[in-house]
Subunit: 436 residues, 3 copies
Amino acid sequence: MTIDELRAGLDEQTVGEQLAAWIAELYPICRSITGDGVRETLRRLQRLAPMTLHEVPSGTDVFDWTVPREWNIRDAYIKNARGERVVDFQRSSLHVVSYSVPVRARMSLETLRPHLFTLPDQPDWIPYRTSYYAETWGFCLSQRQLEALEPGEYDVCIDSSLEPGSLTYGEVCLTGESTDEVLISSHVCHPSLANDNLSGVVIGAYLARYLERVSRRYSYRFLFVPGTIGAITWLARNEPVVGGIRHGLVLAGLGDAGRLTYKKSRRGDAAIDRVAAHVLRQLGDHEILEFSPFGYDERQFCSPGFNLPVGRLSRTPYDRYPEYHTSADNLQFVDPAQLAASLTACLGIVQVLEHDRSYINQNPKCEPQLGKRGLYHTVGGSAHSPESEMAVRWALNFSDGQHSALDIAERSGLSFEAIDRALRMLRDHGLLKELP
Amino acid sequence: MTIDELRAGLDEQTVGEQLAAWIAELYPICRSITGDGVRETLRRLQRLAPMTLHEVPSGTDVFDWTVPREWNIRDAYIKNARGERVVDFQRSSLHVVSYSVPVRARMSLETLRPHLFTLPDQPDWIPYRTSYYAETWGFCLSQRQLEALEPGEYDVCIDSSLEPGSLTYGEVCLTGESTDEVLISSHVCHPSLANDNLSGVVIGAYLARYLERVSRRYSYRFLFVPGTIGAITWLARNEPVVGGIRHGLVLAGLGDAGRLTYKKSRRGDAAIDRVAAHVLRQLGDHEILEFSPFGYDERQFCSPGFNLPVGRLSRTPYDRYPEYHTSADNLQFVDPAQLAASLTACLGIVQVLEHDRSYINQNPKCEPQLGKRGLYHTVGGSAHSPESEMAVRWALNFSDGQHSALDIAERSGLSFEAIDRALRMLRDHGLLKELP
Amino acid sequence: MTIDELRAGLDEQTVGEQLAAWIAELYPICRSITGDGVRETLRRLQRLAPMTLHEVPSGTDVFDWTVPREWNIRDAYIKNARGERVVDFQRSSLHVVSYSVPVRARMSLETLRPHLFTLPDQPDWIPYRTSYYAETWGFCLSQRQLEALEPGEYDVCIDSSLEPGSLTYGEVCLTGESTDEVLISSHVCHPSLANDNLSGVVIGAYLARYLERVSRRYSYRFLFVPGTIGAITWLARNEPVVGGIRHGLVLAGLGDAGRLTYKKSRRGDAAIDRVAAHVLRQLGDHEILEFSPFGYDERQFCSPGFNLPVGRLSRTPYDRYPEYHTSADNLQFVDPAQLAASLTACLGIVQVLEHDRSYINQNPKCEPQLGKRGLYHTVGGSAHSPESEMAVRWALNFSDGQHSALDIAERSGLSFEAIDRALRMLRDHGLLKELP
């Protein structure tokens, strides 16, 4: 099956529902940068794609960093004097600051207070907070919960462990005709947050599932890694592989109501940057952002020592929606139709990457006579040509070895699909020859 | 005589009337891509300029094409049962689909119907249709004529011939100081259509007539060729000449009420592109279009195997006026004043091409003292300089061997004329030296 | 002391008053391109900075020019029949056309009239006029004064001398770590005009005074030269020095109410052009002008044989305010606060020049772990980082040897100060290394 056939056969509504169902399944699991939450998430995703799980021991040096001890948590709560759980990890995995060290103590509200994090501006929402690299502990709760706490003594329990173990990440490798690779990465370390980044994770897994089925020009490598430390760990263990990466995408925040947003690679003029911009323009309302050293794992892929051609596909950028890193990024916050449209955009980008080639005109001096080949309407004279004939003219005129299909699409203002179709048709008629 | 003197001496009103008179004379002739209509048109134009007529036999291979058989037509009509000519070629050369094979038959309206072409949206206009490369026949008529046809039998006659003969084109070669050439081409194959392209044809012929009289730096070659096949034929027979073409213009559609429009060469940054943009900007309202592989013979000159620096000068682009390729493109549709202004623009472009040179400042370190040479006002202190002094300063500062007169005009925002005048004056004072 | 410390310690209000006081002191002196007025002005400025006065004899050839005879003037007037001074040089140095030859005669108003210059549109203002290179004489007066002159005989006296002498200019050289130079030039030849250019002169002198006190990476050369001929003379005598000039600024018209305006060097992309644009953008409302061969001594520094990276800092451009070169450019026309803000802009530009360096990331593969170095907040998860952390990320990601501090500031949209601070901090932590 070709990717064109696959894409043509997809039913967006069904796909959207499937993606949403997967997010719902994975949502309750408490993930962090290490531990059983990530492990369990990846094991379930193995049902979708041939994913290998890698375990990297705590203490392993990865560039300037060290793989941390493994964190696991079973339970956590704050009980009031009446023994009621006023903050309860069982109700939301966000209630505990990620990587909190174990604690079991009775203390006054005054002593407890510096360990409590809220969002005063959003009094019903629980924030998501982490403390990976400083040994401390804390609880996140809504402002209303905080205000309801009466002075007095509280039983505080975080039944966690922070011990030597390993960091877990998942990898799907699909070989293609070429060893040149396309890298698709998403961070898998966030607990019960739907858009950030179960949306990216399940879209990545579905993309792997689909691409496994089709003939591929490029090889594809999908990463499901804990944010920052996971990407760094993968890069540190795979430096020889990195040189083969020709294009890459970080997937994050793809289910909210906002328009598609592509953030350029650090290079700014990489092929992926032009391809993504073209595909998003064809799809409608969108935004293109310049690279900045903020955001997700594009920070590592685009660090100056690697400077990989890796961009990021999102919807609303993380710093522009208030639900970001709060309990409001929940199952209602992601929309099946938006998820499906994001996946379609990914497939569109892959489609262009797969088909973008250069051809050379075999009759470069003057136009070839299309009529005698049946490629031109019989009666001439009207002012407007159908799009397919316009595409043929553009394809012929600019197949000079300097312009790829995407170049011609951009210069003509026509879609990549229209130009690609014309190029292949002209090649089949012997008027163009594919460049290697 | 110099071109400056010639241009200064032109009276636009007189010229406009002459151009319109020529169009009126040529309008009734039924031209096509071959045949006596073109031949007769070119013979008449020989009164204006020293034009050579070339005849290329049918069957000659020209790149991917073959010169077609020669088409001639004497008469054509559709007669109704009462013997009345309800469609009559004698009333408009547009009534017959160009290159219609001979036909003489009686048939029902039903059988005739697929051979009839109309414009339902413009019920009073006759469309212009062609069928050069598929052997068929047809009539063009107004929608009202069609609707008036009663069911019944019709006598159909096209008294044409399609036989071995030749393709005719005209060429005017004016040698200049340099063998570098400027190519001016217009298509001469359209029947009774005034703007498209008798306007381009007569302006081209007048331009040749004028340039013959003046001293020339460049050599000029004017082509009057059938569209597409004529340009291809010329290119196939003149490949060695092509390398000498430094600048070129296709002239088409120059008499309508629209503003001047220049369509760039495929290169997009050729000298002619910058010159035409400068001249049109000086003349006022205008539009610059990017190259596209549609339109007139720029398609052949700018095919990738030639990629010549040839742009196109028009008024309203062909695909933006409804009269295009209809009987409404008639003598009323072209305006003498617009024709004359188009010719003036052509002369302006030639003027810049002729005079655009680079000079080198002989006193490059600091400004030279203009006052002692009488080139500067005596009493200083006011804020504003006259344009001539501004031009002198720009001319001196940017005559560094990197900037031509046009470069300086563009950078300064002053007119080419002002800069050119300053450069020549400074050269005459020994402050600048002309680069070869 | 560093320039940062110096700038931090400046009180703009005090500085503005000092600058205005200096302008008031120098205002009455009658300066011209040679003579005692300039000499006296420069001698007084020696109180501010270690200025050397150079005397270049009349008749010295300087490129295409010759140092003119020295002009001095003691008195000038027009007396009416009643012996009243109706025009009196003692009341304004503008009343005499600069470089007027001596005259002592009685003549009718009719004979006198061609020697009188007024501004009919500004009937109360006296224009400033010069006649350096044509031997003549004249008076400038207000239109009202002219209209009040009754027909009759007038005693005309210009007690001037035009004799072999010398042209005087001042130079302050401050050596720095590097022999690479920054050139700061202002014209000192105008008589009683405050904005043009006592503002530039005293700001230049104060800048020299300040930079003398601080440690300097670059060497600085300040010129106080008569316009045009002074700059040409300096360039002619200092050709070997010119090659060391890395950046330069002409200071002119810096005290009026308008916004800061930077006019680019002829190169258009010199470091000074980018630095000035960045600093002015940080300071608020401003304008950037392209280079043109008009204005002040940037015309000489940017003549094609030198093409130095010298821009111009002004407020309202000279050709946009009616007070230019009239008696309305007086002490009221310059504002202490504007003068001080102009000086601050100059210091800001120097600050960027001094600190703009490139660094190389010592951990280029992935981000370094900032947390373990105490460079990162402990609890993560919120969407927005403080500017200092944003600056750190930009500084790390773009310290690849290709981007200087200014490059990073421009790309990030952050201020040079923020980026520079981050770079130095990261260097101190061993994460970056300064490039030589």
